[in-house]
């Protein structure tokens, strides 16, 4: 798993960490019972305040995505609804796209239509057949 954050992203850093961990779960680079990096490790790696990492882990724990084993660290929960993680992540991506569309004066329908068109073009570019 690889956690990337961007200071100029409109999401607070702890939110970005939460979304990155969700992303890892959805793409499968993080699976149930896996340990998360320690607070120290991630704070040092990302050059951020350890409290920010702690906040992200605490929120994820509250949502039942991870749990803390005392003295051992933070682990991905054994029973995870992949579906809800996917939905949560999709909503986060969609919200960002919607805000960006609104900034450009585009409506929801225009955005959705453009996403379908762009997806079709992408598939063609990669030589796949349209369904």
């Amino acid at each position: 798993m690889l956690i990337a954050i961007n200071p100029s992203d409109p999401r607070p850093i702890y939110r970005q960490i939460m979304d990155e961990i969700r992303r890892s779960l959805v793409v499968g680079t993080l699976v149930p019972d896996d340990p998360l990096p320690s607070v120290r490790q991630l704070a040092g790696e990302l050059r951020i305040n350890p409290n920010t990492v702690q906040q992200a882990y605490r929120e994820l724990e509250r949502e039942g995505v991870v749990h803390v084993k005392r003295g051992l660290g933070t682990f991905v929960s054994s029973v995870l609804s992949q579906r809800s993680e996917r939905e949560e992540l999709a909503r986060s991506v969609a919200t960002r796209a919607l805000r960006e569309a609104h900034r450009h004066g585009l409506s929801v329908d225009e955005l959705v239509e453009a996403v379908r068109t762009a997806a079709r073009d992408e598939r063609r570019r990669h030589g796949e057949t349209d369904e």
Binding site: I5, I48, N49, T52, R99, R103
Partner: protein
């Protein structure tokens, strides 16, 4: 001044505090009644233009400069009366590199420095030296600014002080050393409970670490607040009709006006939703409401008109 821009942190334990601190150098006023509170455990970023009084503030906490009026305290100890006890609790990275021991090798300088601090951690000092790529055999006086900076960081951190004061700590560091400094400070904070007061012009370098901001202008703080509280400092991008006058009627404090013609980008103080609604009520078509980075917040607060 907008009252909400100034948190007093009365509900939190305090690491450092100044009350009514005044300092004049001849006809120049460096500090003009400074009221600053650094909560325990904070990474407090102190910003301000050159000559705003940042260095004088740090020196007051260390009792290195005699103040004309006011008081300073560190962990409840008065800095003037208990100077030695206060300094023992502080790791200091000064803005200058002139030490009276320029002729010593770096190793000898560190050994000398260690004798003043009972809590000096020899193995940690060695570890920091390796991470900062310090060559201990070199003569301290012959080091470049950046190299001296790294030695000063080791001296400030290796006794794991409860309070770290850093005056432009990344000044002179090359990009790689700069990056190492950030990683090292993040590691240090994870291992050792430390309050940090860091004066800097390069806020982006401390973007992820800073959780408190103090904005110093003309010897006074015009803002002092937690990073989280800064989420209420938002930039609204909107389209406005020709000759729009609705801005004067906004029920929110305006920190900074920007944009051109029919497109505006204003920084205001308020919740995102409230800000958005206020601009819509004033006849603007809101396109985006975004939070600011620490660096952008700093710039907005520094440029804030005195009257607001």
């Amino acid at each position: 001044m907008i009252e909400e821009l100034f948190q007093r942190f009365e509900d939190r334990p305090v690491a450092a505090r100044t009350r009514g601190l005044c300092k004049r150098f001849g006809t120049q006023t460096a500090l003009d009644g400074l009221e600053m509170t650094v909560p325990e455990g904070a990474v407090y970023v102190l910003v301000g233009p050159n000559g705003a009084g940042k260095t004088t503030t740090l020196r007051a906490l260390l009792d290195l400069t005699v103040m004309d009026d006011g008081t300073a305290e560190v962990f409840g100890l008065p800095c003037v009366e208990r100077g030695a006890d206060v300094r023992a609790r502080i790791g200091f990275v000064p803005d200058s590199q002139d030490f009276p021991y320029g002729g010593l090798s770096v190793d000898a300088l560190l050994a000398h420095h260690a004798t003043y601090y009972p809590a000096w951690d020899e193995s940690y000092a060695g570890e920091l030296g390796r991470q900062m790529a310090i060559d201990g055999r070199q003569r301290y006086g012959g080091l470049s600014k950046g190299e001296a900076r790294r030695v000063q960081l080791v001296m400030a951190l290796a006794h794991r002080p409860p309070l770290l004061l850093m005056d432009e700590p990344t000044d002179g560091l090359d990009p790689l050393a700069q990056d190492r400094f950030q990683a090292l400070l993040a590691d240090h904070l994870a291992d050792t409970p430390t309050t940090v007061l860091i004066s800097t012009h390069r806020v982006h370098e401390i973007e992820g670490l800073g959780d408190c901001l103090g904005v110093l202008r003309d010897g006074r703080l015009v803002a002092q607040l937690e990073r989280q509280r800064l989420e209420r400092l938002v930039r609204v991008r909107a389209e406005v009709p020709e000759g729009w006058a609705g801005g004067a009627l906004l029920p929110l404090p305006v920190i900074r006006r920007g944009g051109r013609g029919r497109e505006i980008a204003w920084t205001v103080w308020g919740e995102s939703a409230a800000a958005s609604a206020a601009f819509a009520d004033a006849g603007a078509t809101v396109r985006q409401v975004e939070r600011l980075t620490l660096e952008e917040s700093t710039r907005a607060l520094l440029a804030m008109p005195e009257a607001s």
